[in-house]
């Protein structure tokens, strides 16, 4: 049994083609069932009461009036969720984030929940719960939170990776990466650019709000239907927080209406289960859009200082980054990831990046597509452009000169294998977009981006029916067309038509543990498990053929979907197709299946370079993206349509982030724009077509050469657009989003400075 993960440069018949997705008809007819589309007999409607304060002590919660309201079947507070975390601080944080335990830590933090016979009754019940708050001073800005006199968000927190201290702090962690001697490197530099940047907080903005249907009985058995990127992770967490046995909680992932990292975490699912357990009835709990913005997990706002030095001939001698990322009210790894990714595109002799993870009174930060990388890339790639301008060197040439390559020691530690940063830059250099003329008030920018990608625990079952069709069950949630890609892979391996494979997403009772679909791992890891499961099934198919022919299984080959007996001595034996072997299977040993339970290691890092043209109205600061091109290394594009889709989607999210999207907090620490009207994600008329170019530099650690493709596409846009806007407006933009008032202000400040200079 060969389970070799090495890339083999196999010639493909199906992989790389663009068949219709298997879930297409369900999704265009309205039949596909998402989180809020399920219901159960006797179900109750859940609702959550949330803190109106950014920071408050909860002195008392009186639920008695709500409990007496007719139609109310359960009311819970943190008292109904005892601490079963046994000192596991990470799990305790999750429990506390699901429902406040004596302290409300951000505007929108859940404080109580009800289950009632209908939405109206649930709403009235919430209004009958009285909470006695003592409002505490709050902090929502990352720089303010680092000051020594800042209000403390989590009194138990001490800085990990910092000087030992007994003093409470909002700096949860300091992470340092790099190598060489940056001081010596800067001493050798002819030119040095040092600049500070800021980015505001954004949300993944998936169109489907969090939703679930929970059922728990007094026998300790339960089921959870939920929109999630990782139902196994949800199962393990919910069971652990509620004191249930993992085996007795079956979690089914619904169709998922977008996640982008935001559905990798539990937010209110444990509450639905607790309500159901208390009421002994199914409970459906659906977040409103306002809840999603206030109380799920957006990405960090940041503040950064970047310094890069180089010689006159354009070689970078040293680079440093200080990256301050806010984690919301609970410690995370976001500053650390920023520090790891900041300089990953470059081959640097002397480099240091320091990431700060900082607590503030905002919702717990969650992953958002290549989490933390876009902000760091904005700072670094803007500075790279400034340095190229100082050198009077073309910005692409400057990057090419310093790009990482095979053998480069990455700033975050490892040494790269074959990678795509150089090829994406070459492709950009030669792209017609780079050479197209620009109109009045237009500017062009480009930038690079990096993401690690991830593999992890994966488990796939592949069952062959007696008619020769194949039922495949995978445990990674399909967030963007993975069932099509995985079906292609199974069909390719088995040598059967794509249409003969049906790919299902199994519930937690059907398969072993699968890690969450995050880190662009879906097609990489389940693709690998699918290849292994198919090869495993082929071994069985060969042995059944051998049995039929009464020859040794070693004498059977698998060629184009058929078992073939090797050697002239067996030339009388005609090939047996998969369908023929399957048909005979009841009499040759029973069902034929293949399995794979694996840890998919060796995810290939991926790089992208983007080009962007914008037009800025200098009188209003209004910016329009007029042309956009994505070049990215996919390793291998299994289904190119959905690879392009990932490139385009990431770019579009980046465009929104760069220009308009931001969390706006008032002086009172409350979120002022928790809705799609004032949290402005791009609409169709805001965007041009987004051109894509897929490069395929095989990942040596995957049989097909697959790298993840989902995340890297959101890394370059902030920087690419900032470079384009800066070129169009004639002033360097250092604060994202580059909203019209910010652009206008920068243009005016620049004009005033020129006036002063000419007057002086």
């Amino acid at each position: 049994m060969t389970l070799d993960t090495q890339f083999t440069d196999q010639k493909f018949k199906l992989v790389g083609s663009r068949p219709d997705r298997p879930d297409g008809v369900d999704k265009v007819t309205g039949r596909a069932r998402y989180g809020a589309d399920a219901s159960a007999p006797g179900q109750l409607v859940g609702a959550i009461l949330r803190s109106p304060h950014a920071h408050a002590k909860i002195k008392k919660i009186d639920t008695s009036k709500a409990e007496k309201l007719k139609g109310v079947k359960a009311v819970i507070t943190s008292a109904d969720l005892p601490d079963l975390t046994n000192g596991n601080r990470g799990n305790y944080d999750i429990l506390e984030n699901c429902m406040a335990r004596g302290r409300a830590l951000y505007d929108g933090h859940a404080v109580a929940a009800v289950a009632a016979i209908d939405a109206e009754t649930a709403r009235r019940a919430l209004s009958l719960i009285s909470v006695d708050y003592k409002v505490l001073p709050h902090v929502t800005d990352v720089d303010a939170a680092m000051r020594s006199n800042a209000p403390i968000v989590q009194p138990h927190v001490r800085t990990a990776g910092g000087e030992p201290s007994d003093k409470p702090t909002n700096i949860a962690q300091i992470s340092t990466f790099g190598h060489g001697d940056v001081e010596a490197g800067f001493a050798k530099a002819d030119k040095i650019v040092e600049k500070s940047y800021k980015t505001e907080q954004t949300h993944q903005g998936y169109i489907e709000p969090h939703a679930c249907l929970a059922t728990v009985g007094p026998d300790g058995q339960g089921e959870l239907w939920v929109t999630t990127q990782g139902h196994y992770t949800f199962r393990n967490l919910c069971a652990s927080l509620l004191g249930m046995d993992i085996a007795k909680l079956k979690v089914t992932s619904s169709e998922i209406g977008g996640g982008f990292g935001g559905k990798t975490h539990v937010w209110m699912e444990p509450l639905a289960l607790a309500l159901s357990r208390k009421a002994n009835r199914p409970v459906k709990l659906v977040m409103s859009r306002e809840d999603v913005f206030r109380a799920s997990g957006p990405t960090s706002s940041t503040s950064m200082d970047i310094k890069i030095g180089c010689t006159n001939d354009g070689r970078i001698t040293a680079a440093t980054a200080t990256l301050r990322y806010q984690d919301g009210a609970f410690p995370g790894i976001w500053g650390m990831l920023g520090a790891m990714t900041a300089f990953a595109c470059y081959d640097l002799e002397n480099v240091q990046s320091v990431g700060y993870d900082v607590l503030v009174n905002r919702p717990k930060v969650a992953a958002y597509r290549a989490p933390s990388a876009p902000m760091a890339a904005f700072g670094v790639e803007s500075t790279i452009d400034l340095l190229a301008a100082e050198l009077n060197m073309d910005a692409v040439e400057f990057r090419l000169l310093n790009a990482a390559k095979e053998g480069t020691k990455a700033s975050y530690g490892p040494t790269y294998g074959p990678i795509g940063i150089g090829p994406t830059l070459e492709a950009v250099k030669n792209h017609p977009h780079m050479h197209a003329p620009l109109g009045k008030n237009q500017g062009r920018g480009m930038a690079c981006g990096f993401w690690f990608n991830f593999g992890g625990q994966t488990c796939t079952d592949l069952n062959i029916g007696v008619d020769g069709t194949v039922n495949m069950t995978v445990g990674t949630v399909d967030v963007g067309g993975a069932r099509a890609s995985l079906s292609l892979i199974a069909a390719e391996e088995l040598g059967i038509p794509y249409e003969h494979v049906k790919c299902n997403i199994g519930d937690t009772a059907s398969l072993g543990h699968n890690d969450t679909t995050e880190g662009s791992r879906g097609t990489f890891s389940s693709g690998m498990a699918t290849i292994f499961a198919a090869r495993n099934a082929i071994e069985e198919l060969k042995s059944r053929a051998a049995k039929t022919w009464d020859i040794d299984p070693e004498e059977v080959d698998w060629v184009d979907g058929e078992a073939v007996a090797k050697g002239v001595e067996h030339s009388n034996l005609g090939p047996l197709s998969l369908a023929q072997i399957a048909k005979a299977s009841p009499n040759t040993g029973g069902p034929i299946a293949g399995h794979s339970e694996t840890v998919a290691d060796g995810a290939g890092v991926s790089f992208a370079s983007h080009i962007c043209d914008v037009e800025v109205d200098p009188e209003t600061g209004s910016t329009r993206v007029v042309r956009y091109t994505v070049v990215q290394d996919a390793g291998k594009a299994i289904h190119p349509d959905y690879v392009e889709g990932q490139f385009q989607g990431g770019a579009a999210q980046g465009i929104g982030w760069a220009l308009n999207e931001e969390y706006i907090y008032g002086e009172d620490g409350r979120l002022q724009n928790p809705g799609f009207l004032d949290y402005r994600i791009p609409v169709c008329s805001d965007l041009p077509f987004i051109d894509t170019e897929i490069l395929e530099i095989p990942n040596p650690n995957h049989p097909y050469g697959i790298r993840g493709v989902g995340e890297t596409s959101i890394v370059p846009p902030l920087a690419a657009i900032a470079n384009a806007v800066s070129n169009a407006a004639g002033v360097r933009m250092d604060h994202i989003p580059m909203s019209p008032p910010r652009i206008r202000k920068a243009i005016k400040a620049e004009a005033a400075m020129h006036q002063e200079v000419s007057a002086g």
């Binding site: 219709d20 265009v28 039949r31 169109i207 169709e255 209406g257 965007l687 077509f689």
Partner: protein, 167 residues
């Protein structure tokens, strides 16, 4: 609020229901009539995921009361295919990979159909503005716009073929 009795037509079928006067058409469709194709993405008319037509007019079902559809003709995504024949838009959305997660797809299909019904040959700009009330977070709209364009082309070719046959 007291219950209101409503008689209406949904996807060509006569339907009766009782709902509180303050209940939205979206809640009626999803929770009383079992038609969960229309989605609630925001509940405030800002995302278009609940797009349906009432007497041919494209609306957000979340911004309309259930009680308002008395005597009207409501069309939802569930009524778009004719028997086993997908509407050309539905087919083109699949063929052009115009959906990723698919949550916004029903709304986009309803909005695109409303557009093509009134403007069979829209420009790219017209498509983009007509679909501006529908948010999609996965695709960057690229393949959606292409799918609508392709459908318009397909329908106009069909019309030409039919026309020439008649002659």
């Amino acid at each position: 609020m007291a219950g209101v009795h409503v008689s209406t037509t949904v996807n060509g079928d006569d339907v009766e229901f009782v709902c509180p006067g303050s209940e939205s058409l979206l809640d009626v469709l999803r929770n009383r009539l079992g038609l969960t194709g229309a989605k609630e993405g925001c509940g405030t008319g800002d995302c278009g995921a609940c797009s349906v037509t009432v007497d041919g007019q494209l609306v957000c079902a979340c911004l309309m009361l259930g009680a308002e559809v008395e005597g009207r003709q409501v069309q939802t995504v569930e009524g778009m295919a004719q028997g086993d024949q997908l509407h050309p838009l539905q087919r083109q959305f699949i063929e052009n990979a115009a959906l990723q997660c698919g949550i916004c797809t029903p709304g986009f299909l309803m909005a695109a159909k409303a557009l093509l019904d009134r403007n069979p040959d829209p420009t790219e700009t017209e498509i983009r503005y007509a679909l501006a009330g529908n948010l999609c977070r996965c695709t960057g709209y690229d393949k959606i716009v292409r799918a609508v364009s392709a459908t318009a082309k397909e329908l106009s070719q069909e019309a030409t073929t039919k026309g020439s046959k008649k002659r």
